[in-house]
Amino acid sequence: MSKVSRVMPKIDKERCTLCGDCVEKCPQGAVHICSGELIIDEESCEYCGECEDICPMGAIALPYEIVMGKSHRSTKEE
């Protein structure tokens, strides 16, 4: 089975100071610092937002697209 790419938290590498707060805070242990870079493991990340909350530099963002459910898309109110 081909691996489906999941929506991942966005990391602003220019802002990230590699302080490690998110590494400690992540309940899934999905955040690591490898070779001077912050890495989030796609398999274990649950998109819970703890890393976004703890980051003192605002370097991690978990964006959402807000959409109408399928059954309402064609009947969008004017």
Partner: protein, 221 residues
């Protein structure tokens, strides 16, 4: 070398529609083009006003900060809009901090040049008044939301507005909180409650509205 480009931007900007050729020429002489990356600060709340900006491309976020660091996003300026006209007119401090939400291109006029242009060109003065009147309506609506609606009502309203908008920009829960005048935890708790009620489904990277009527009732709209 920059002059022809500034001319194009001035001529293409909706704010300056209806101005005559000589008036556009006058404007162009005083305009400076400014290109900015995402997340760049243009002005800090409380500073003196030195410039007025007209958005050509991108979006600029207007932010109020509390002493404790709480952030309230008052809105975003989009192409065709202008900002810092109020402090330019009353020579007061900048009322909000502005930061680029995306990469942006702006036309900048010094405060003195802007005031001179408004004095010399009545159609421009009328456009400024029109814009300030619209802004007053927008802020009145925001005050109504913040003072008369609960976070849950405001969140329901925001979800509907964003889902029904042609814009499909993504938003983080922290940004939602800043727009709603609350903190992320409260947004997260309300989203969970909406999900438990079956009004929305929160997926990884998306929030799907399942029952817009229920959200409308919640938002009282």
């Amino acid at each position: 070398m920059n002059v022809p480009r500034v001319t194009d931007y001035v001529r293409g900007h909706p704010f300056f529609e209806g101005l005559k050729e000589a008036q556009l020429h006058d404007l162009t002489r005083m305009a400076a083009l400014q290109k900015l990356d995402e997340e760049q600060i243009l002005g800090l709340e409380g500073d003196r006003c030195t410039s007025v900006y007209f958005v050509v491309e991108g979006r600029i976020r207007a932010i109020k900060m509390s002493a404790g660091g709480r952030k309230q996003v008052l809105g975003e300026f989009e192409p065709g809009e202008a900002f810092y006209m109020v402090p330019a007119l009353d020579d007061g401090p900048l009322p909000v901090t502005t930061r680029t939400a995306t990469r942006a291109t702006l036309l900048r006029f010094s405060r003195q040049d802007f005031l001179g242009l408004v004095e010399r060109h009545p159609p421009l003065a009328m456009q400024v008044l029109n814009t300030l009147a619209q802004r007053m309506r927008r802020l009145t609506s925001l005050v109504e939301d913040l003072s008369l609606r609960s976070v849950s009502e405001r969140l329901a309203k925001m979800l509907l507005e964003r889902a029904e908008s042609a814009r499909t920009q993504r938003i983080t829960q922290r940004e939602m909180a800043a727009q709603l005048g609350t903190v992320r935890e409260v947004v997260a708790r309300n989203l969970s409650q909406f999900q438990e009620q079956g009004w929305i489904e929160v997926h990884r990277g998306s929030i799907e509205i399942i029952d817009p009527q229920a959200l409308r009732r919640e938002a009282a709209i």
